[in-house]
């Protein structure tokens, strides 16, 4: 959609493609990551009776900018015993993995990087690259802490992808689509059309879906939390045990890449959750643009709604992080295999039964 418009506008398919693929990075991910890091520090500070950064700019709003500049200036240290090629490739791979997911995320009705039919499946697949990057980083660092962190990360991310996929499968069964755009369009108009409240169906089916969808939302939220390595599932980075896991040996811009990827990933999973269950970019109570007859206002409103929803879920992630202690690695696996996966299966079966009947 975006691409078509740009193609007409510039008349060059390469230029249009270029702009479309870079737009999310410069318009969204970088500013977002800057903002999210600041938000994390402010949220944690206020939860802990502190003020957080206060010196750089008003209430410290320029703190992360200053941090990034500092990171850019830092010497890029590559330890002598590392596997240089893999070591250099790993942060790029991790970043690509989380960045590529943004291609299929519908920010609004007109702003989608690429409107792939298999959107959801694509995102799940492409974020799998992150695991390879993390394993690579852990192995190439030639550091025991990094290796342990990487092994844990791989085990954790792969395990938690199963409940995520099972819930996504349930959604496919209900809606019959894998495209995030179609999913969002289905949940249009008012908030009772959101899938968390049973979706656009009517009657008994909708009522039966509500508890299942709520449970499904909880499962997918918990497992995405684990996939992005946030507390209480931040075992791969477990600062107090593994120093900082797979990125212990990284410094300067390479470390910043991991950092950026983490925050980009946080938004990506929040975006998926809100696109699946909370209507994506749809407003919960209709649009100001259609009421005032200003059609150009609608995409802006949609974009704001989408960002607001995403930020809300990120806020919840931060809230959890600064409240809960961390699981142990075996408890984490137990939680996934003994509770989340069976529950996801039950939901899948029940939804199947309801849709058939």
């Amino acid at each position: 959609m975006m691409y078509d418009w740009l193609y007409q506008f510039t008349g060059s398919s390469i230029l249009a493609m270029f702009i479309v693929s870079l737009l999310p990075l410069f318009v969204f991910i970088l500013p977002f990551a800057l903002f999210a890091v600041l938000m994390e520090r402010k949220v944690s500070a206020h939860m802990q009776d502190r003020l957080g950064p206060m010196r750089v700019g008003y209430h410290g709003i320029l703190q992360t900018v200053a941090d990034i500049i500092k990171l850019l200036q830092k010497e890029d240290i590559v330890a002598a015993a590392t596997d240089k090629n893999l070591f250099n490739l790993a942060p790029v791979l991790v970043f690509i993995g989380s960045y590529a997911a943004f291609a299929a995320i519908p920010f609004s009705g007109v702003f989608i990087g690429s409107q792939i039919e298999l959107g959801l499946i694509y995102i799940v697949a492409v974020t799998g690259l992150v695991v390879a990057g993390i394993l690579m980083a852990g192995w190439a660092s030639n550091n025991k802490y990094s290796l342990l962190g990487a092994m844990r990360a791989a085990a954790q991310i792969i395990s938690y992808e199963i409940p995520t996929l099972l819930i996504i499968l349930t959604i496919i069964m209900i809606t019959g689509t894998v495209s995030l755009y179609t999913l969002s369009e289905m949940q249009t108009a008012y908030f009772w059309n959101w899938l968390i409240l049973g979706g656009p169906e009517t009657g008994i089916q909708k009522i039966l879906f509500i508890p299942l969808m709520m449970a499904g939302f909880l499962i997918i939220y918990i497992s995405t939390l684990a996939e992005v390595n946030r507390t209480p599932f931040d075992i791969p980075e477990a600062e107090s045990e593994l120093v900082s896991g797979y990125h212990t040996e990284y410094s300067g811009m390479k470390f910043a890449m991991f950092f950026l990827a983490e925050y980009a990933n946080m938004f990506a999973v929040s975006a998926i959750v809100s696109a699946i269950f909370f209507g994506g970019y749809q407003s919960p109570f209709g649009y100001l643009g259609s009421a005032l007859n200003l059609p150009w206002l609608i995409p802006i409103e949609q974009f704001s709604w989408f960002t607001a929803k995403g930020l809300f879920f990120i806020f919840v992630q931060m809230w959890l992080r600064w409240t809960l202690p961390r699981f142990r690695v075996d408890q984490l696996m137990e939680f996934c295999w003994k509770y989340l996966i069976p529950m996801a299966f039950v939901i899948l079966l029940l939804v199947g039964l309801i849709t058939v009947l």
């Binding site: 802990q48 107090s240 045990e241 809960l324 202690p325 690695v329 408890q331």
Partner: protein
């Protein structure tokens, strides 16, 4: 073909975020399972005991501060008692009361650090800052009294360096009033958190018998269910005048003597300390705090062993005097040093994450271990 596997040796520390200083643990790992732990100490060794032989008795006091730097007041307390015993000095009543108040405030401050860092070790960062916020108020009380926040040089042989600040009593009462709800909040946030209990209950269980055999003292011993507290069982100073209980571990969430018990015993002890401080503040007599301070500290020939219940266990001073102004020999029985010995026994068969949990629950201070 059988896959070749071998054990991995992992060096934990001395530069590691959760070894509580410069402790180095050599871990033998089978995957993530610990098969052996060897603690290596000495990175903070400052020759405390040898130094003392070249100094006069009062000059030793600032050095005792630097042993267990989280419980400096109590180190001075123990040393003062030892030298007073050696010289047969009778200390004024008011001084004893102030010493007890300071000692118990120090116990709370020390336990707050222990609990806060324990939470941080397990990934909960917020309780850490809550604990430090409360500890800050205690440090403020110390600061208005003697001017220092960490290393006080406050309790002198036969007396104190300063009398209480006029605001001290009022501020302490305010602190107690506001600290009780904070303690409750800490319990809600951390102690009874499901994940926290999962991480600590049934982990690193130390049976009472093993604890006694290893010579464990203090909260770690009481967590194993042994009711032994020097304040009650070998009373010194004016502790016999106060009414307080000695909490022991009961295995409420897991087994008696597990990490959760060792953690929670400290929460309970803080409540008892508050109780002691309240009573001491109400009963504190007037008097001169410097009347018994000797002009020249020159104990008669002889030797003495005095022990006190430091926040970490039994802190003992063994002093030999040859009749001169310098001690002939000072030996310290440091509770952290003795408690650390049980580490290897507790860790076997657990995972790496549990090493952090167990080490944190033993609550060591490296300054005291290495001296």
């Amino acid at each position: 073909m059988a896959l070749k596997t071998e054990e991995m040796v992992l060096n934990m520390g001395p530069q590691h975020p959760s070894t509580h200083g410069v402790l180095r643990l050599e871990l033998q790992l089978d995957g993530e399972i610990i098969s052996d732990v060897i603690p290596h100490i000495g990175y903070l060794h400052r020759c405390f005991e040898k130094h003392c032989e070249a100094m006069t008795y009062p000059q030793v006091i600032p050095y005792t501060d630097r042993m267990d730097y989280l419980a400096s007041m109590y180190n001075e307390f123990g040393y003062a008692i030892a030298v007073e015993k050696l010289m047969n000095i009778q200390v004024p009543e008011r001084v004893e009361y102030i010493r007890v108040i300071m000692g118990e405030l120090q116990r709370i401050a020390s336990h707050l650090v222990a609990l806060g860092t324990y939470g941080a070790d397990l990934g909960a960062f917020t309780p850490f800052l809550f604990c430090f916020r409360d500890r800050e108020r205690i440090l403020h009380l110390f600061e208005i009294t003697c001017g220092a926040r960490l290393l006080y040089n406050y309790i002198w042989i036969g007396g104190l360096s300063h009398d209480l600040h006029p605001d001290f009593i009022r501020l302490t009462k305010e602190f107690i009033k506001e600290f009780r709800p904070n303690l409750k909040e800490l319990n809600e946030l951390l102690s009874y958190n499901k994940i926290f209990i999962d991480r600590t209950a049934h982990v690193g269980v130390l049976p009472a018998e093993a604890a006694i055999n290893y010579g464990i003292t203090g909260p770690n011993l009481r967590a194993s269910g042994v009711k032994w507290d020097l304040r009650r069982d070998d009373p010194y100073s004016v502790y016999h005048k106060f009414d307080f209980e000695i909490p022991v571990g009961s295995g409420e969430k897991g087994k008696t003597g597990d990490c959760w018990d060792r953690y929670f015993i400290r929460v309970l002890e803080m409540e008892q300390s508050l109780k002691i401080i309240e009573q001491a503040i109400d009963q504190i007599p007037d008097g001169d705090i410097s009347s018994a301070i000797p002009k020249r500290v020159k104990p008669p020939e002889g030797q003495v062993y005095a022990r006190v219940e430091n926040p970490r266990g039994e802190l003992g001073y063994f002093i030999i005097s040859d009749g001169s102004v310098n001690p002939y020999r000072i030996k310290v029985r440091a509770p952290s040093f003795v408690n650390l010995a049980v580490m290897g026994e507790l860790c076997k068969g657990h995972m790496i994450a549990d090493v952090v949990a167990i080490l944190g629950s033993i609550d060591i201070v490296l300054g005291e271990i290495d001296r």
